[in-house]
Structure formats: structure tokens, C-alpha cells
Symmetry: C2
Subunit: 354 residues, 2 copies
Amino acid sequence: MDFAARRLRAAEALAATEADRLLVTPLVNVRWLTGFTGSNAVATLTTDGTAVLLTDGRYRDQAQAECPGVEVMVGRDLEGMAATTAADARWAVETHEMTVDTHRQFVAYLTQEPIASGRLIETLRVVKDVDEVELLRRACEISVAALMAIWEGPLVGRTEREVARDLERRMVDLGADGVAFDTICAAGENSAIPHHQPSDRELRRGDLLKIDFGALVAGYHADCTRTVVLGAAADWQREIHAAVLQAQSLGVSMLRTDVTPAEIDAAVRADLETGGWTEHFTTGLGHGVGLQIHEDPFFGPHQTGRLTDRTVVTMEPGIYLVGRGGVRIEDTVCVTPNGPEVLTPAPTNLLEIG
Amino acid sequence: MDFAARRLRAAEALAATEADRLLVTPLVNVRWLTGFTGSNAVATLTTDGTAVLLTDGRYRDQAQAECPGVEVMVGRDLEGMAATTAADARWAVETHEMTVDTHRQFVAYLTQEPIASGRLIETLRVVKDVDEVELLRRACEISVAALMAIWEGPLVGRTEREVARDLERRMVDLGADGVAFDTICAAGENSAIPHHQPSDRELRRGDLLKIDFGALVAGYHADCTRTVVLGAAADWQREIHAAVLQAQSLGVSMLRTDVTPAEIDAAVRADLETGGWTEHFTTGLGHGVGLQIHEDPFFGPHQTGRLTDRTVVTMEPGIYLVGRGGVRIEDTVCVTPNGPEVLTPAPTNLLEIG
């Protein structure tokens, strides 16, 4: 990872604001900017790309090892220490993440009121480095391999919870550091609950089985959903699966540079509406994924930023019929100059397995 | 869990402030107050104990199922919806957790400036319900059982990472929902790094092996550390282990009602200082544990609140000799009328295993 190059890009964005110093407070932004992976730190950045990492004594050695080219300061009141490095500066702070109390304490050290940085770092994080794409690809490969193993069965007769734990274990066996988020494994009527928690319900023949899951590799998150039928599919299951698959394929095909998330959102919804399904599509269409499982850009009617090369997002339409069952199909996709690269290439056709 | 009783306690605390409504924004506080376990919600509370849960459409059914006796509202701008339920009220908000931007948006809906609630909910969370202690006990039992299995070996020749993953898997096999935090497994010189991340370093004869880990059960976290020697212990290893064990035993013995964390902190540091070790004790002595791995009360020289029945905390002194090795011994302990109940009763004497 070329953290120095990231700091230069961030410094350039900072220079375009009224501020000359940036205080970075969310750990995930600190990590992106410096490489630091511990649980407590803030960072400062100046318009020439110089960064300081401030952490507590537990992390002194780790910070120095992980953050070459970054000065490390150790103490307890991290924001106060940061402020006193340049109390007269015009600071930008991440008011969308910083707490009211921390902001008040920080301001007390300064001679000028800080400005809001907005999502300066988050916006830069949208475009992944080549190294980041490689880690996402690896996390997705592990996820797909684990799912294929689970699909070999047996499935009928096991509980949602057992299948979820088995899938998670296989990801770790395949090299994941852990799971990217709490696995959703939802059978039958539970598949209609978008974010169902795995329960002791047994999987039965005739159930839709929806699994939403992903591996975590070196801080990077995979995100994939597939829905299959246990045994032979009923007509209504085929119908909603076909509608979701058509919408999802359309959405993936539109993940190209210079397209806006809003255009894709509108097109996918229009496609679902031809079957009258949009009222049953109650979740978001997709989101960026990287150091966080949900990050910029988010899909929705008001997203105006255009997709660029090496933006990694999910595409995940669904139809949820309350009390009956639901289907979601989700891929993690990297936008490239040659079009969308699906990082989670597990089969999307309707499998009847068991 | 008797959530209605918790809401009455919180309402009583709210009534003692200048506010008549509380906006609860950290998910863990929402969960404690209502039982809701999803990933997006806020809650409101009035001085008669009435609560409203506000979440998005994904969680409508789950919220209604998990939160009996609580009105559920569904939408996107959760804070805005909350404000409009009582725009003229005097609100208390959690400024230690609420972001600057959310606060600004919330205030825009109100006719009166909100006040800071302080750590109203966190303070109530310090004293656990009987049901919460039972879940913590279960999480700790699983943790200890998994550690004992790991100690049976083999250990020498495996990597830190392999041992950490094996331990985590055993906890899930024993019924954990997952891990309470990233497992620390640190061998030899790495044991001197308080928060070392498991690496590909192989465990060797003569190494100190420090493992800090815990199981997660129904949202409740276990936290336990043990340090052993692989093979025969050297004199310096025996010396620091004995010093830590003496300090840790003293600390545990003092975990009684009406004692303050500051008194315990001072006593344990004085004990370590008799051997000249305090300069090598660079971490905190302990913290509350429950729905969060680190929660109130925190041990330190300025903590004045007295321990009460069913407060659950860790006790974890350590000595870290940079470049050589370190020892930490940590238990999760419940304060009871009969004295400290150690929830993680794995052996603390210096084991020479392999």
C-alpha cells in the first residue's frame, strides 16, 4: 500500500478548502491514511502531505512499525495533543464522525474555529488502489469458495445457525481473518426478512435459502448474497428469482465509468416495476465496500457522483414477500475501464439443491 | 431480560435532570433499553418510562418482535422523526456519542436547545441484571474451556495465528456466537507488546505465550488473559509472572462493594512498585465489561464511583519488558455481596506446557 501517495492526494484535497490542517478521527480514515491498524488513534495532515499519528502507549511500537514516514506521538488526550501541534492553524474536522464533546474539547485549544472537512477522506477512499482491489478480490474468492462448499450440502435438516457457522468456519480455513459482518442465513419465510439473524429453524425441502455473507482479509470486506431453493422450486419462487436476477444483471452491466449511482438505481427500479415488484424491494440497491462493509458511494435516487475506475460497490436488488419468502442476489463488483469485474462470481441462476 | 424495568430506572435518572425527553443514539444503549439488536436505530424515552424505537424498513418486523411494550416507528431520518414526536420538549442528548452534524440536524427541529445527558445510560449499565450476569458467566465458561483445550497442545511449532484461530474455533464450537474482540496471541518477545496481532511467528521452546481473548454470547463479552511458558521457565520469566500474579490476586481480592476503582488502582500499583515494576506496566488495570468489551467503570487514579453488587469488571495488571517478553493475567470478575466472583477461573499459576 502506498500510504504516502494517499497522503499527497488528501493534502491536495485539503489545500482546496479554507483549512491548512486536517484532524482525522475515525479509525478507518486514520488507517487508510497511515496504515495504523490499532484500536485508538487520531491523525493530523498538513497541506504538504505531512502526517502525525497520535495514539496511546499500548501502540507505540506498532504505530512506528506500521506507519513509516509518519511521526508518532504518544499520550492520552489525543485531540488535545493534536491541537497543540498547531493551535493557531485553521483546522478542518470531520463533523460527520466527531462527537459533540470531542469537538468542544478540541476547539477549546484553538485560536480559530475549525471548519467541517466534509467527507474528504471518504471521497478519496471511493477509488481503490490496485493493492486494495487485490485484497478485495482475495476476500471475495474466499467467500465464493466457502459458499460452493456449503452448497454441496447436506443442507436440509440443519439449522440456519449451523449453516452460518459452518460457512464462517470455512472462510477462516480458506485464509480469511474473520467475517466481514454477521452472516445472514435465512430459510423459508425468514428469507423475506432482509436482515434476518440465523436461528434454530431447520432447513426444509421447498425452502428458499438466502445467505448474505463475506470474508474479511487484511481489513477488506467481501459482500455476497445468493438465494437457492432446497429441492424443487415452486412457480412463485422461480418467478421472483427470475425477476431479481434480471434486475441484478442489468444493474451489474451498468457499473461503468461515468455512470451515476442514481441512473443505475432508476434503471433497476424501472426493471423491477415491469413486474410490479418495487413495493417488495425495501432495501438499498448497493453501496461501496472496502475498509468498511458500507462506505461511499451509496446507491439511491440522489447520488450524483460518477463511477470511476477502481470503484468497488455491491449490486443487490431483492424481492421480499412478507410471510412467504424472499430472494436477494448480490455481487461485489469492481468498475474497470473494460466494464464491471464481478469479484464474487458464484452462479446466479436458480439452483435446486439440498 | 426485563427491559421495562430498565426503562423505569432510566426514566428516574432522566427525571433528575432538567430534561423531560432523552434521545438515545448509541446502538448499545438502544439495545440495553429496548432489546433491539439490529444495526440502525435510535430510541426516545420519557420520564414515565415510555420508549419509542425508530429504525429503518429493513428492521420493522425484527423491532416489533424484539421490543414488546415499545412503539416502533420506521423511516430514514431517525433523529428528525424523534424530534418531531416532541419538538417543544426539553431534550437530553448523548453529546459524548452524538456527532456534531447529527446534533446540528436534531437541534434544527426543536424549539429549545437540548442539554447533555452525560453518561446516564452507561452509568445504569454498570450494574448488571441477574440475566446479564448469567450470559457473562456463560461467555466466560466457554472461554475458559476453549483455553484449557488449547493448552493441551501441541503449541511449539505452530504459529501465533494458527493458535489464535484454533482457540476462536473452539469457542464457537462450544456455543459462542463469535469472539468478543480480536484475539491476542503473542509469543516470546511479542508478548511484551500489550496488543500484539497474531503473526506467522512460530511458537518456540522457552517462549512466554500470552493469550488475551474471549467469547461473545448473546451480545455479552468475556475477557480473559493468561501467560504460560513453553517448556521450562527462565528465572526472569518466573520473576515477572510471580509479580503480576501477586498484583492481580490483590486486585481481584479488592473487588468488593463500596471500594472505588481508584483505591484498587493505587493498591495494585503500590504492590508492583515494591519490585520496581510500575514503569513496565503501561496499560490500564481494568474496565467494565458487558454489552461492550470496554465500558464503565474504568480503572484509574481519578475514578470515584464505588463498586456495587453485580458490577462486572476485568482485573488485568501486566509487566512488559520490551524486546524480551511480557506477562499479563486477566480475569473477568463479578462483584457480589460475598466478595469477588471470578467468572474466568482458569489456573493462574505459571504453567510450563508445550
